[in-house]
């Protein structure tokens, strides 16, 4: 598309307008997201030990390698530098428990990068979130490891009973919120610890504070919009408040949004460009749908945590939401739908 012509001693570039472009590039966005994801990793290393760092590294390396190999095999330009595979690798590691065997993320990476991303046409064309498909696949393949390989976090002062390593959501689901409060001492202690990130859980999901910080930075930079995170977290809080308790309107919304993968999902997974609706109305509904499905799975489903599956299910709705909620046309010609 670009054509050049001799001009004195060099050529003039000729291309279509616009001739200036914003400095935001795909690489910039991706690497910013990577940077926002690093603090929770440091936190996780501090509370779960060096093991989680190794798992994350294995995950990232295998994702990048899979990306390079699949692109080579499919005859596509190799784009490992744009950072998208790195993000997938980090996110994949973040949604698996810290105590899993080291080979798990490798298998997850093949499923995530090759099957979910490259078979569907590469960057931007995937229908489902690669990291979450990786997790769902691992969940189906290694159900025991994926549901029990939790590690008791350091700096947590409760007694080392059999439930020490169980995730808070597991305790809430099967023993009730009272059991959780009993275990941790008091509600305020729960809030404090969960907010900082000292609780059992998947590698990257524990530190609500650092994830929130990263997410807010992305919103501030304009790389993601607030619609999805706010509607998703809001719906989870609201519905948990209504249905989460023994009677209506007795649930504890704060524990619900601080536990599980809500923060990680809301800011870094649900907002994945390729798999979320493009426009704000769709995004609001998408976020609310994720929230509702999360609460449904948490309260009524077979798993204690539902964010992963809720996002995957709503990913499936994204093309439909995109076709229903288009931007409002400036002033369409008469007789044509808006």
């Amino acid at each position: 598309m670009e054509k050049t012509t001799t001009f004195e001693n060099h050529l003039l570039t000729v291309s279509v307008s616009p001739h200036i472009k914003s400095p935001v590039t795909v690489e910039k966005i991706m690497w910013t997201v990577v940077a926002c994801l690093i603090p929770p990793l440091i936190m996780a290393t501090a509370i779960f030990g060096i093991r989680v760092l190794i798992i994350t590294l294995i995950s990232v390396i295998s994702c990048v390698l899979t990306e390079a190999i699949s692109e080579k095999a499919l005859g596509r330009p190799i784009t490992i530098k744009d950072g998208s595979a790195v993000i997938t690798g980090i996110l994949l590691a973040y949604v698996i428990p810290p105590g899993v065997p080291y080979y798990l993320p490798i298998l997850g990476a093949v499923m995530a990068i090759f099957v979910t991303k490259h078979l569907f046409g590469g960057l931007g064309a995937n229908i489902f979130n690669p990291a979450l498909i990786g997790r769902a696949f691992l969940m189906a393949t290694f159900p025991v490891a994926m549901t029990s390989a939790w590690i008791v976090p350091k700096y947590l002062k409760h007694s080392a009973d059999a439930l020490s390593s169980a995730t808070p959501l597991f305790i809430v689901k099967h023993y009730g919120i009272q059991a959780l409060i009993q275990k941790y001492g008091s509600l305020s202690y729960i809030y404090k610890n969960f907010f900082v990130g000292i609780r059992p859980g998947c590698i990257g999901e524990t530190s609500a504070f650092l994830l929130l910080l990263g997410g807010l930075y992305l919103i501030y930079k304009g790389y993601i919009k607030w619609y999805i995170p706010v509607s998703m977290i809001g719906t989870i809080a609201f519905l948990t408040w209504i249905f989460g308790g023994e009677h209506l309107f007795e649930g504890n919304p704060l524990v619900a949004i601080l536990s599980g993968g809500v923060m990680l999902g809301a800011f870094f997974m649900a907002t994945d460009y390729a798999t979320s609706p493009n426009y704000k109305t769709g995004q609001l509904i998408y976020g609310a749908g994720i929230g509702a499905l999360t609460v449904l799975i948490r309260l009524k489903g077979g798993y204690p945590e539902g964010v992963c599956y809720a996002i995957l299910l709503m990913n499936g709705f994204t093309p439909a939401l995109d076709s229903w909620f288009k931007p409002e046309r400036f002033a369409p010609p008469k007789g044509e739908k808006k």
């Binding site: 290694f142 159900p143 025991v144 029990s148 059999a162 439930l163 099967h174 077979g302």
Partner: protein
């Protein structure tokens, strides 16, 4: 319209022909089917009792079924048992909820026929007052060897994590668990589905009645030597087994990793089954004794 008669005749002939073929197939297979189903169930029973190909059941071993019914009369609810008699027929005994005898009726039905629910219903409605409504509740299978009770077999179901889990529980006459077979389950493969594995099932083996009543699930990893015993009992001597069982077997069950809920469901289910059964069999035995029923059991 001209073709109409031809179409109708053609369709009728086709229908009759296909009905004929299917009918013939049905007739040819129905007997084999019932037989095979019973054989399959019998194998499960043998397995629950601990008999294998190397250790076959004695030929004198016999199974007798006792069926429990709940009956409704206007303003009155009570229970009844169908008890097999020595003459190969059944008698029906009705008793109230406190276990007191109400009445007794003889039924004209053989043990073989009684396995069919519809046949039982027919026999019962023939002798009972027409105003009485009756509902089948469950059955007890009693294994008898040379006129002596060897074991009780209880086919039961309870709610699992996902769907109903159907089990066959074998008890010694003193209610110690002799064996457990999982007949049907639809738990998650690899997680709750592991209840079918020996290392889980066999944990129940040998639990006494007292232990069962206090049974609870613990979320600790299964000790390795215990697991080996549970999985491959035949490879060890009886002494070894006894030693290790004594060491680890108490009134607790090691939960399956990642499937605590299923483990709890099974444990509680079995606890309930044994408790209810122990209560009922006492009542039943008392009735048989008091009423001088010539029962085969």
């Amino acid at each position: 319209m001209k073709d109409f008669p031809r179409i109708i005749i053609g369709l009728t002939v086709a229908c009759i022909a296909s009905a004929f073929i299917m009918g013939v197939a049905f007739m040819l297979t129905i007997k084999a089917k019932k037989h095979n189903e019973y054989v399959e169930f019998k194998e499960a029973m043998y397995s629950a009792l601990g008999y294998t190909h190397e250790n076959p059941a004695p030929s004198t071993l016999q199974f007798h079924e006792v069926y429990r019914y709940i009956l409704n009369e206007p303003k009155k609810d009570y229970m009844g048992y169908m008890i097999p008699l020595k003459n190969g027929k059944y008698c029906f005994v009705a008793l109230n909820f406190d276990g007191n005898f109400l009445y007794k009726k003889d039924l004209n039905i053989s043990e073989e026929e009684a396995r069919e629910e519809s046949a039982r219903e027919k026999a019962l409605s023939a002798v009972l007052n027409p105003s009485v409504k009756f509902f089948y509740a469950n059955r007890i299978i009693i294994a008898v060897n040379n006129g002596k009770r060897v074991a009780y077999l209880l086919p039961r179901g309870f709610a699992g994590f996902k769907t109903t889990i159907k089990v066959l529980l074998a008890l010694e006459p003193d209610y110690t668990i002799k064996g457990l077979e999982i007949l049907e389950e639809e738990e998650d493969p690899g997680l709750g589905g592991e209840i079918e594995k020996n290392y889980f099932k066999n944990q129940f083996k040998g639990l006494t009645y007292k232990e069962i009543t206090q049974l609870k699930v613990i979320k600790e990893p299964l000790p390795e030597e215990y697991r080996r015993i549970l999985e491959q009992e035949r490879e060890f001597t009886e002494e070894q087994i006894k030693k290790i069982r004594e060491k680890y077997q108490d009134s607790h069950i090691y939960a399956l990793t990642g499937a605590t809920i299923t483990s709890t469901c099974v444990t509680n289910g079995i606890k309930n089954i044994v408790k209810k059964f122990a209560y009922r069999i006492k009542v039943l035995d008392k009735i048989i004794k008091d009423q001088h029923i010539n029962a085969v059991i």
